[in-house]
């Protein structure tokens, strides 16, 4: 659960995530374009990266939660955070969102071809099944992550898919870890201690 103190500012939060508030709050569903402009909305529609946010404005404290999952706060100082739209709980009003095409990456995990990017200065709250941990990536220590445990990433990272598919995988005797994301560069990757269900089990 996330408590946000507001003093006249505006934040954006997942539609329907408010569980309680005190003070004066106004909730407004964002229009068709979700604050990303007509072009952004179109891109989102094409990408199938659905996301419905509402605007919360007022004085007081608002409590946000979604399905009893854990909340991780990410401070952005002009960096870009990449996260699945379904993992986004709330954003500072100043943060901009957009769609980022990732290509093949999302295929195996049933998350589609695109991911949501958040940029600007402020705090973003992301959801994870179990408390997320951040794992640093440096050029000397690249990191591999199970696609099902991936939550989001931050910084100058290059992402590629490592496959270890061989004839045994085809026979159904694979190692169960045949597909991984590998991150190289400088940045931080958030992982959760649980594996979400994918469409494709590899």
């Amino acid at each position: 659960m996330l408590a946000v103190d507001l003093a006249g500012e505006t934040i954006r939060a997942l539609n329907g995530s408010m569980v309680a508030y005190d003070g004066q709050m106004a909730f407004k569903r964002q229009g068709m374009t979700g604050g990303e402009g007509l072009r952004g909305a179109l891109k989102r529609r094409i990408a199938g990266e659905g996301m419905t946010l509402m605007e919360v404005t007022g004085q007081g404290t608002v409590f946000l939660a979604s399905e009893a999952t854990e909340v991780t706060l990410v401070q952005l100082n002009g960096d870009t955070l990449f996260v699945e739209s379904e993992s986004l709980l709330a954003l500072d009003g100043d943060l901009k969102t957009g769609v980022h095409f990732v290509g093949l990456r999302g295929m195996g995990t049933g998350q589609g071809l695109a991911t949501t990017k958040v940029e600007g200065h402020g705090v973003a709250a992301i959801l994870s099944h179990g408390p997320a941990i951040g794992l640093e990536v440096t050029p000397q220590t690249p990191l591999c992550v199970d696609p099902h445990a991936y939550v989001g990433h931050l910084g100058q990272l290059q992402q590629d898919v490592v496959t270890d598919v061989n004839w045994r995988t085809v026979l159904g005797q694979g190692s169960g870890e045949s597909v991984q994301f590998r991150y190289q560069g400088h940045g931080l990757v958030y992982v959760q201690p649980a594996e979400r269900e994918g469409i494709l089990e590899i």
């Binding site: 990410v74 794992l135 591999c144 169960g176 201690p193 594996e195």
Partner: protein, 250 residues
């Protein structure tokens, strides 16, 4: 609240990262259950147990054809982070000991340990010296026999003889009368069946009744169907049909 952040050197070595994940400092080989790896640094490869070069290792340490399909060997050098469905994760050390654990809850173990199938369906026994990692839904509780444990809350046991089944008298009567079973009337408390532990040792329990899935139990049952003749199969079919009808009405 800041998210704990680690890198390749600050990740704990063979210890918990937090209550829900465990970091293995891999230098050689570990057995791991499929799909429990969430991230790793370094050069690590994952091989199915059927991989040729692993023959000697598997022959020496893995004696469970029923579960071989669920296990892999991680080999190489680096830090390997394991987690399971957001469950609590703990590591235990065995020193010339033996411990039996629910198959779905065992995440990984060192090759110093030998894995065997327990007589109780759905459980695996580890024998030898080394470390293993296991998951539980909620913290683990250690209790001493004599004790009766709900089968779903049982995580495993160490050093004591295998348990036996215990049924309450009222359940027995129901089973004998059959009327209750067939009609489904009268219901049950869901607590008529326990595992009964006696002797010296330790029993491990989890504080919830959530278990992996029925898959393991099903596979066990399927494995035994081969021993049943045509008459037995027909009877099984009848029982299943009755149960399904009762479920639909309920």
């Amino acid at each position: 609240m800041r998210t704990p952040t680690f890198n390749a050197t600050t990740l704990p070595s063979n210890d918990n990262v937090n209550a829900y994940s465990f970091s293995v400092d891999l230098n050689g080989q570990w057995f791991a259950q499929k799909g429990k790896m969430i991230a790793y640094y370094g050069q690590i490869r994952f091989e199915a147990l059927s991989a040729g070069p692993l023959d000697a290792l598997v022959a020496a340490n893995f004696h469970s054809p029923l579960y071989a399909h669920d296990w892999i060997v991680a080999q190489g050098q680096g830090k390997l982070v394991l987690a399971d469905r957001g469950f609590d994760v703990n590591s235990f050390d065995l020193d010339q000991g033996n411990l039996t654990i629910r198959a779905g809850n065992l995440l990984a173990f060192e090759p110093g340990l030998e894995l065997k199938q327990s007589i109780i369906p759905g459980f695996l026994t580890l024998i030898g010296t080394g470390r293993f990692v296991a998951a539980s839904n909620g913290p683990v509780h250690f209790v001493e026999p004599p004790i009766r444990v709900d089968p779903q809350a049982l995580l495993g046991w160490a050093d004591c003889p295998s348990p036996c089944h215990h049924y309450d008298h009222s359940y027995m009567r129901g089973a004998l009368g059959m009327a209750r079973m067939i009609t489904g009337l009268g219901g049950s408390s869901g607590e008529e069946h326990q595992f009964d532990f006696t002797g010296q040792g330790t029993v491990l329990m989890q504080s919830s009744e959530a278990v992996m899935n029925e898959d393991v139990l099903l596979r066990d049952l399927e494995g035994q169907i081969g021993m049943v003749g045509v008459g037995g199969l027909q009877r099984l079919q009848q029982t299943i049909t009755q149960r399904l009808t009762a479920e639909r009405q309920g």
